[in-house]
């Protein structure tokens, strides 16, 4: 009965060839799978196992504690503060979840998600290097992020130390700050153990002494899971060595005095920029270095916002620029030091030589005016330097010629960065025939040599160059490199390097010449060119300067900067300038002052009053009122 149903009697069409083909396909499939499996497990097994192991464990740097910085009296100028930082490791953040994670994290941190994405995209390292998204995160925010780690793949929260500068703007231009390493620097320093999310000294001594301060990072082996979460530290491969600490030549007290004096003068005269520097001419140690306006370097150490940074950058008085070293200005009459020294040493004049000074000199049909339109009559060096007679120094410059003048300028260290321990130092310009041919295609004109002799025209100097030149005058011709660091002490307490004066050159100038120039500088004070400075109990020699710059106003007057550079003898209360024994030289620079009197001198006096605790007030506030007193320097 079932034959018809089962087709049993019919020849069953079983298709043996198709069964065979099916069997062969089966064998081929398993053959293929087996071959590939053997390739993975037997051929490449060890390599793949190592790769699996490698993604599970990671060598991680143990950051070293950054070295501390003290002033010369041992006062702490910087601290390391533990803060929370949020980082993202791009390789552990699946691309599809990037936007989600950025949004979630942004709402926790209270920032814009696009900022996070931009930070991620512009990170210097590879996809495997963590990128710092936020630093100095409040603790409760850090906890919130850490606890949401399951929804935030690739995001880690960790402790890192940042720098805290208790004095902020007071020392910002000297100390500088640390900040996240940028792409170009990272590329260069990667081989020296820097991490893509490292903090590095960006400017100031934090930058110049980066390698000393940084220390040596350690290495630890850590186990990680797939989300990049650190599971445990497996081993310590190498301990971190804390960075060395610095003792600066800066004295915070003097820095405060200088700042206070400069701020007072700038406020009284309505100035926007100013510089005050104090040095020990016997060693080249910088005791104070003030550039105003300053900025709070803590803003950078905490991770400055783009907005705040733009504001600082766009400030036309350039608070981020150290005007003492990174900018150059015409020196004005202070530069007469060069012409005077050169004239004496090249025997064009003696200290006694009298030159006739008048209201102006005529050269090639052009008139070159003295600041005093009546002249001073027959004038020797003390008269010419003391009254700052322009026509006197036009003649000296003319006798020297452009190239000898330039030679003596170079001897004083102008036209070349001093090598102070700060980044971005400007070189200034010393005009010579060759310089002018290179720059402008023709040699110096006679009138230009006149201008060069009185620190106008092409001459530009940095304040640090100028004070360093006067230091050489004060110490008898030893041009030192200005230094900011007295001592580098390793974390083990061992002194790595201690202060040594760094002589740039012993100037080829006789002590007699220097003595005559110092006495001439003293006559600036005694001839009351600097008004009542001579009345102060502290005995000062120096030179004021009024340097024109920019464009003439409607009345044909030029805006000008005011300078004063001075020094006191070893015993500041005894007016003996014959010996090269001064231990204090100072410089005041008032940018665009346009005051009735020399603002630099008043600022210098204010400093001396603070520094020497002079109770009586010698300041001439009316000289600081605006009003174009000088027609020419």
């Amino acid at each position: 009965m079932n034959d018809g149903l089962f087709n049993a009697n019919r020849e069953r069409d079983r298709r043996p060839i198709r069964f065979l083909v099916f069997g062969i396909v089966t064998i081929l499939v398993f053959g293929l799978l087996t071959t590939r499996l053997a390739y993975l497990q037997i051929n490449n097994g060890q390599q793949l196992a190592a790769q699996a192991e490698a993604q599970r464990t990671a060598e991680e740097a143990i950051p070293a504690t950054r070295g501390l910085i003290y002033d010369r009296q041992g006062r702490l100028l910087v601290q390391n503060v533990a803060t929370w930082a949020v980082k993202i490791t791009p390789s552990e953040l699946p691309f599809t979840e990037r936007d989600d994670v950025a949004h979630r994290l942004a709402s926790m941190l209270g920032v814009d998600p696009t900022e996070i994405l931009t930070t991620l995209d512009s990170a210097p390292g590879s996809r495997f290097d963590p990128v710092r998204i936020a630093q100095d995160v409040p603790e409760d925010t850090a906890r919130l992020v850490a606890e949401s780690s399951d929804e935030l793949p690739g995001v880690t929260v960790g402790v890192e130390t940042r720098r805290e500068y208790p004095d902020g703007p007071l020392l910002a231009h000297i100390l500088g700050y640390t900040g996240p390493i940028d792409e170009g620097t990272y590329a260069k320093l990667r081989s020296r153990g820097y991490l893509a999310d490292d903090l590095i000294g960006k400017t100031g001594v934090e930058s110049t002494f980066e390698s000393e301060l940084r220390g040596t990072y350690g290495i630890q082996l850590v186990a990680k899971d797939a989300t990049g979460k650190e599971l445990q530290v497996l081993s310590n491969e190498q301990d971190a060595v804390p960075g060395a600490s610095l003792t600066l030549t800066i004295d915070r007290t003097i820095q405060r005095e200088a700042t206070q004096a400069l701020k007072w003068g700038m406020k009284a005269a309505g100035l926007k920029r100013g510089v005050f520097i104090v040095m020990n001419p016997q060693t080249g140690e910088v005791l104070a270095l003030v550039s105003l306006p300053s900025y709070d370097n803590n803003l950078f150490a905490r991770g400055i916002s783009t907005k705040a940074f733009q504001k600082l950058l766009n400030n036309k008085n350039k608070p981020l620029t150290n005007h003492a070293t990174q900018a150059h200005y015409p020196p004005g009459s202070t530069y007469k030091l060069v012409a005077g020294t050169g004239g004496l040493q090249d025997k064009k004049i003696t200290a006694k030589t009298k030159l006739r000074t008048r209201g102006y000199l005529t050269l090639g049909g052009a008139r070159f005016y003295d600041w005093n339109r009546r002249g001073f009559g027959a004038c020797d060096l003390n008269c010419g330097f003391g009254h700052s007679s322009d026509t006197y120094f036009f003649q000296v410059a003319g006798m020297l010629g452009a190239d000898r003048l330039a030679h003596w300028a170079h001897m004083y260290g102008f036209g070349k960065a001093t090598g102070i321990d700060l980044p971005g130092e400007a070189a200034g310009i010393v005009p010579s025939n060759q310089w002018k041919i290179d720059a402008l295609g023709q040699p110096m004109f006679g009138g230009e040599v006149y201008q060069a002799g009185i620190g106008q025209g092409y001459d530009v100097v940095t304040p640090i160059q100028l004070i360093n030149a006067f230091s050489a005058l004060a110490n008898g011709g030893k041009l030192y490199r200005p230094q900011l660091v007295r001592e580098v002490v390793g974390s083990d307490g061992k002194v790595i390097s201690s202060f040594k004066p760094d002589l740039i050159r012993k100037m080829p100038v006789s002590q007699k010449t220097f003595r005559e120039m110092r006495l001439a500088a003293r006559s600036t004070v005694t001839l009351r060119h600097t008004y009542n400075l001579v009345d102060m109990p502290v005995k000062v020699a120096g030179k004021s300067g009024t340097a024109e710059f920019g464009k003439r106003d409607a009345k044909g007057r030029l805006p000008f900067h005011s300078w004063f550079v001075g020094f006191v003898p070893k015993n500041p209360y005894k007016a003996d300038f014959s010996k090269p024994d001064s231990e204090l030289v100072f410089l005041a620079f008032a940018y665009d002052s346009r005051t009735k009197g020399n603002a630099g001198t008043e600022i210098a006096k204010a400093f001396l009053q603070f520094h020497f605790h002079i109770k009586k007030d010698y300041l001439n506030r009316d000289l600081l009122r605006r009003g174009n007193f000088y027609q020419s320097n």
Binding site: F22, P94, D225
Partner: protein, 386 residues
Amino acid sequence: MRVMRAEPGRFADMTTRSVGRVGRAYDLQLTVYAALLAAVGLVMAYTNSIEAGTAVLEPGSIFQRALMWTGIGMVVFIVMTAFDYRWLKTLAWPIWFVNAGLLVLTLAIGSGVGGSARWVGIGPVQFQFSELAKILMIIVLATYLGNREGRLDSLASILGACLLMLPPWALVMLQPDLGTSLVLLSILAGMLFMSGARLRWLLAMALGVCLAIPVAWQFVLRDYQKERILSYLNPSVDTQGAGWQVHQAQLTVGSGGPLGVGLTNGAATRGGFLPVQESDFVFAVLAQELGFLGALVVFVLFMALLWRILSCAWRSRDPFGTLFGAGLASMILFQVFVNVGMVIGILPGTGIPLPFITHGGASLTSLAIGLGVIQSINLRQHRAEW
């Protein structure tokens, strides 16, 4: 399709046959191979349970669930063995409609990852009806093609089979479940090939599918599916997106070496780097912990099982038996190939379970039904002797 009739005469068979004959007809080897594969599946469930950090017998643990489904699978297998498979031919149409209904239900109330609809919760358990659809469609196609014996080389037979497959296939695609839809196509292709359909028609169809791929890419495939396929084509570039799993699976497999790292020892070296290890990537864990040797044993078991299924198909005097065996063998072979191929990085990831070893209730039930039917066919190839 022909009219399907209940045939009361068949009930006599079992009762009139001697026990010895039944014993000889029963394919013990097939049962043993299947049981061994299921045992490997249980072992993998055990090791994954341990590595997931749950107590092995804790309610809801991977192992506990696997144990439950293995038990259910054994019952289903025995019931299907006892059940006269010839009834299935009678029930083919109702089966087709029930299958379509379940797939529609899945679309309506199912849940799944990323907006897909794959599982239907039945009480505490989740069931994937698309898994069941595979075996149900094998029954339907075996009935249809078996009834058309003698006319199997005609284009009409091929088109009829395709037409029967189209609605459930489309419903699966809508979930969307690319993996299962591909398995359904492989079943269709395997059964048509073994039925003796004209090669030229089959080749023409294959060509048609190839031409349809660009169209499908543009209009049918979802982004995540495209991503998976692209990541397969270049896995090392994007190790974080979809290629991540494929890359990690290879690392896992490779780190097993020839002899493996030992059961339950894999997690330490995987460290959570291979996501969804307990589902479609379980073979990676197997290859890592049991090594090349263990994987080879599993391959051999699969080949032996396929051999037994094909022998049944060959011996069957009933075209339904032959075609059913062909369909089941195609399904298992395709799933093993695609799943293992994905894990070891020669095929894109499509989310196809590894028969017996991936811990899925529906997959195991589906296989139990299939193997039970095969035994039922084995037992019922002898003419009544009276």
